[in-house]
Point group: C2
Chain length 205, copies 2
C-alpha cells in the first residue's frame, strides 16, 4: 500500500519505486521505535544501511518520509471506517459505526505504539497535506450520512445541512484529530457512546 501513496518522480523506474518503499518501511519501524521528532535522516540512514545522500535522492527531507507514513496510516483509518460504515443498517447505525471506527482505528494505528504519536502530532500541528485530505474525508462522510438520514426520514431537516454537519464534526474532532486524540484516549469508548447518543438525539425529526 505504501507504493500508492509515495509520489514517484516520472523519471524514475520500478527499482527506484522499490527503494522508496523500502525506505518508508524501514523509517516506519524506526520511528515507531525511537520517535519521529528526535530522529534525524542520518540516524535513519545508519539504521537502514544506506548513505544519507542516497536517501536524499528519494526524499527531500525527513518530513517527506513522515508524510508518506502518516498518509499510509490515515489511509488505513479511512479504510477501516469505510468498512464499518458499509455494514450499517440505517443512517443512525452508520453514524454510530463511523464514530466507533474512527476511535478504534486511530487508537490502534497511532497510539498502541505510543512512539508513532509524534508523527501524528507534527502532521496535525503543521497541517500536512495528508491530514488536510483526512479532514475533508471526515467532513464529507459526516455530511453524506446526515443527508442519507434526512432523505430516509430518520433525521430532522429544519437545520441547514452545513450547520448540522459542521457541528457534528466539531463534536467528533477531539477523537478524530490525531493531535487531540492523545488527550482523550482515556474513556474514549464511553465518550463515543454518550456523544453518539447526544448527536442522534439532536438529529431526531
Amino acid at each position: 500500500m505504501n507504493t500508492t501513496l509515495t509520489s514517484p518522480s516520472p523519471t524514475r523506474g520500478p527499482l527506484d519505486h522499490d527503494v522508496r518503499t523500502q525506505i518508508v518501511d524501514a523509517a516506519t519501524d524506526y520511528f515507531t521505535r525511537y520517535g519521529y521528532e528526535k530522529t534525524t535522516v542520518s540516524d535513519l540512514a545508519k539504521a537502514i544501511g544506506f548513505s544519507k545522500a542516497y536517501i536524499y535522492k528519494f526524499f527531500d527531507s525527513k518530513q517527506a518520509i513522515g508524510e508518506v507514513i502518516c498518509a499510509n496510516r490515515l489511509a488505513e483509518v479511512m479504510q477501516a471506517v469505510d468498512a464499518a460504515v458499509a455494514g450499517g443498517a440505517s443512517a443512525s447505525d452508520r453514524f454510530r459505526r463511523m464514530f466507533r471506527a474512527f476511535i478504534d482505528a486511530g487508537t490502534a494505528l497511532f497510539f498502541e505504539d505510543r512512539k508513532l504519536y509524534d508523527i501524528a502530532a507534527t502532521a496535525s500541528r503543521d497541517a500536512w497535506p495528508s491530514v488536510q485530505a483526512y479532514e475533508r474525508y471526515v467532513e464529507e462522510l459526516i455530511a453524506r450520512i446526515v443527508r442519507e438520514g434526512r432523505e430516509a426520514g430518520e433525521f430532522e431537516r429544519k437545520t441547514p445541512l452545513d450547520e448540522t454537519a459542521n457541528a457534528i464534526c466539531l463534536v467528533m474532532k477531539p477523537y478524530i484529530n490525531p493531535l487531540l486524540l492523545q488527550y482523550n484516549l482515556e474513556g474514549a469508548q464511553d465518550a463515543t457512546l454518550h456523544l453518539s447518543n447526544l448527536v442522534l438525539r439532536s438529529l431526531a425529526p
Copy 2:
C-alpha cells in the same frame, strides 16, 4: 482576590500575607511576559528584588506560586460565567450564555497574552488541584442547567441526567479545558454557536 486563594500558614501574620500576595502579583507579571515553564525561582527572585531563600519562605516551589496564579485566573473565569448565567431568561438561554462566557473569559484570561498559556497547559496536564476544582464546577453547572430545564419542561427527561450532563461536558471540553482551548481558539465563536444549537436540539423534549 489573590489573598483568598493563597493558603497562609497559621503561624504567619498579616505582613506575611501581604508578601505572599506581592510575590504572586510579581510572578503573574513575570510569567505573563516570559512564560512559566522556562522561568526559575531565581529569575523570579531577581526580578522582584527578593532573595531566592526569602521566596522559599513563602512558597515551597515554583509550582506552588503557579497554582495560586492559575487558581486566581480560573476563579475569574468562574465569576464571569456565573455572572453571564445569572442573567439568563430560560435554561436554554443560560446554557448559551454559559458556553459563550467560558470561551470569552478563558480566551481573555489565558490566551490574549499567549505567555500565560503554559501555566494553563502545565496545570491541565498535571491535573493541579485548581484545575480539578474547575472541572467539578463545570460539571455541576451543566448538570444544574439541565436539571432546571427539565423541571421547567424545556428539556427532555428520558435520557438519564448523568448521561446527558456528561455528554454535554464532553462537547464543551475542548473549549473549557485550558490545555485543549489552545487548539480550538480559531473559529471558537462560530463553534460555540453551532455546538450550542446542536446541544439544545438534543435537549428538546
